[in-house]
């Protein structure tokens, strides 16, 4: 077993999840089973292979250009009201579970 109870607790904390005891034991079983399967990636020697984070810089761009210049078409002027007007305050707050007229409201952040 790769993943232990302690790992599950640690990762749940990183992910901002509480998880019930039942969920934790299910997670332990499932993560181990999936990661066992993922281990087959180690059959491949990738020491000379560059990682690929996304496909966009390989296809559909001008290969003669370098780095971010390939994506010059995607840049825009840095202005406040540019492509789209900002949402009106009221609309931006409309989906909030708790808000006053100005701000999102949340429970106390700092404990004393």
């Amino acid at each position: 077993m790769k993943v232990t109870d302690k790992d599950v607790a640690y990762v749940a904390e990183l992910a901002n999840l509480d998880l019930t005891d039942e969920e934790r034991s299910g997670m332990l079983r499932d993560l181990n089973s999936i990661l066992d399967y993922v281990d087959r990636l180690n059959q491949l020697d990738t020491s000379d292979v560059p990682p690929m984070a996304q496909v966009s810089d390989r296809y559909g761009v001008d290969q003669a250009k370098q780095g971010s210049e390939r994506f010059a078409y995607a840049s825009r002027e840095d202005i406040v009201e540019g492509l789209r007007k900002s949402l009106p305050h009221e609309e931006a707050l409309a989906n909030a579970p708790d808000a006053d007229e100005e701000f999102f409201r949340v429970p106390k952040v700092i404990e004393r």
């Binding site: 901002n16 509480d18 998880l19 999936i34 993922v38 990636l41 496909v55 296809y59 989906n95 429970p107």
Partner: protein
């Protein structure tokens, strides 16, 4: 009005020529949804007010003798991962049960600008995570061909709605096969466009380097019409490509004679159902009969695609879903005392089991000490998988494979075994990882009358060729 045979062309002409009105057409679809969807479960929300306003606009245009736009009056429906201004958008999750987006997804806005009438929002696996639609936070979708079976996923509602005549066409999203696999299970056409071809602005993100929006339809021509409408650079999505969009419909009738189609043995190995194999092989023979040249190709890293995909997709998902914190939108737990407790309990209560599993897996793969072993390793294997396709496409114009190793399975059959469920995507995840386009087109049925899908994969930004091959096959079949 017989809804069963309605295509985009037929629906638009009927409205244009005043044989019916867009209002009548929309009402007929709503009546059909009312009658059928109780047992299928494809819709989560109906957008009747918005639909009827748009229908009225189209009717006014037709009455004034104006030429309707390409989808004028055509009833469509949208997978519930695409934002619709003023119409509830849940992503199939309880955490967004009451979310009303303040803006429209570009793909939806483009469909409406082309005259489409948006009937409502379609059920899917929660945050598009699943292969059977059983992970919906609301209710499962049943396959219209056999109600004991799943419609596939995650765009299960989008495939079932087309198959059951509850919309002429629908929009789905595909991150690992979520358009093509349900299209295959429900006996409809589904298209995964090239990465960057269709703007994702307004799509609720699952895995940003893999997410795509695309059409599901009864015919290849309808899919081509929708793709033409939604494709192309969008300044609101910096990942949308600056590549001209061809007239896919005009290209459909060009002959396929002489095209080279690759067949890779890696897509016909263990785990492929015999009946699926026979149907796909028969389809390949038919394409040969149409003058295509069949060429063996090798995609040697295919067996590594599923583990690569599940590391990368979950890693990206764990980051994307961090935004659901109960502050700006979405569910917030009651009776919490601190901010941190609010985050954790809101997410615990709002997310379903599969979403939590993937967030945990992705967080683990990105965590200190495991990043190199999992995430970086998967990114390197992604390079190898992409090179496989680069190599193959030097020899062939397209590659033909089964869409899924089996026909639709039964509800509950795989829901307790996440790994078995992930393997349902074995032939579809490769295209998402490489960013190439793909289409699933129906190619027969099993003895139990369950649909089988033929997948055709193409070169980057060459949807025209795979649509043309699929159209030729569809016309000949």
């Amino acid at each position: 009005m017989d809804l069963t045979s309605l295509t985009i062309g037929a629906a638009r002409s009927a409205v244009q020529e005043r044989k019916t009105t867009a209002l009548e057409l929309a009402e007929a679809y709503y009546a059909h949804i009312q009658k059928e969807d109780g047992q299928i479960g494809a819709f989560l929300t109906l957008s009747k007010e918005r639909a009827l306003e748009q229908a009225d606009r189209m009717d006014c245009m037709a009455a004034e003798g104006k030429v309707l736009p390409p989808l004028g009056g055509v009833p469509v429906a949208i997978k519930d991962v695409m934002s619709t201004r003023g119409v509830r958008t849940t992503a199939g999750s309880r955490i967004l049960e009451k979310y009303i987006p303040p803006y429209d997804c570009t793909a939806v806005a483009r469909l409406e600008a082309a005259g489409a009438v948006v009937l409502g929002k379609l059920n899917c696996d929660e945050f598009a995570m699943g292969s059977s639609n059983e992970n919906s936070g609301y209710h499962p979708v049943r396959n219209p061909r056999d109600l004991t079976r799943v419609p596939g996923g995650s765009s299960g509602g989008a495939a079932a709605a087309v198959a059951a005549d509850m919309a002429v066409v629908t929009l789905g999203s595909d991150t690992g096969g979520s358009i093509r696999q349900p299209a295959s299970f429900c006996g409809v056409v589904g298209v995964l466009p090239t990465y960057g071809r269709v703007s994702r602005y307004g799509l609720i993100a699952f895995a940003s380097s893999l997410d795509h929006i695309g059409p599901l339809s009864k015919t290849v021509k309808d899919a081509a019409t929708v793709l033409r409408t939604i494709a192309g650079r969008d300044p609101m999505d910096s990942t949308s490509a600056d590549v001209p969009v061809p007239d896919y419909v005009a290209e459909l009738d060009r002959p396929v004679r002489g095209l080279k189609l690759g067949v890779a043995k890696e897509y016909f190995g263990d785990g492929l159902d015999d009946e699926v194999r026979q149907s796909v092989e028969a389809a390949i023979d038919k394409l040969k009969g149409l003058g295509c040249e069949i060429v063996p190709v090798s995609l040697p890293h295919t067996p590594y695609a599923i583990p690569t995909y599940y590391v990368i997709a979950t890693a990206e998902a764990s980051a994307n879903l961090a935004r659901f914190d109960g502050v700006r939108y979405g569910h917030r737990a009651r009776g919490v005392k601190t901010l941190s407790e609010m985050y954790r309990r809101s997410r615990d209560e709002g997310f379903g089991a599969e979403v939590k599993r993937r967030i945990m897996l992705g967080t683990y793969a990105l965590s200190a000490g495991y990043y190199d072993a999992y995430y970086l390793k998967a990114q390197k294997v992604r390079t190898l998988l992409t090179r496989d396709f680069d190599e193959a496409f030097r020899k062939v114009d397209a590659i033909v494979t089964p869409t899924s190793p089996t026909a639709a399975f039964r509800l509950g059959e795989k829901s307790n075994d996440p790994l078995a469920m992930y393997l349902a995507d074995i032939y579809t995840v490769t295209a998402d990882l490489a960013g190439i386009p793909g289409i699933s087109v129906p190619c027969g049925e099993t003895r139990e009358k369950l649909p089988i899908g033929l997948q055709i994969l193409g070169k980057h930004f060459d949807e025209a060729t795979i649509l043309r091959v699929a159209h030729a096959y569809e016309q000949a079949a």
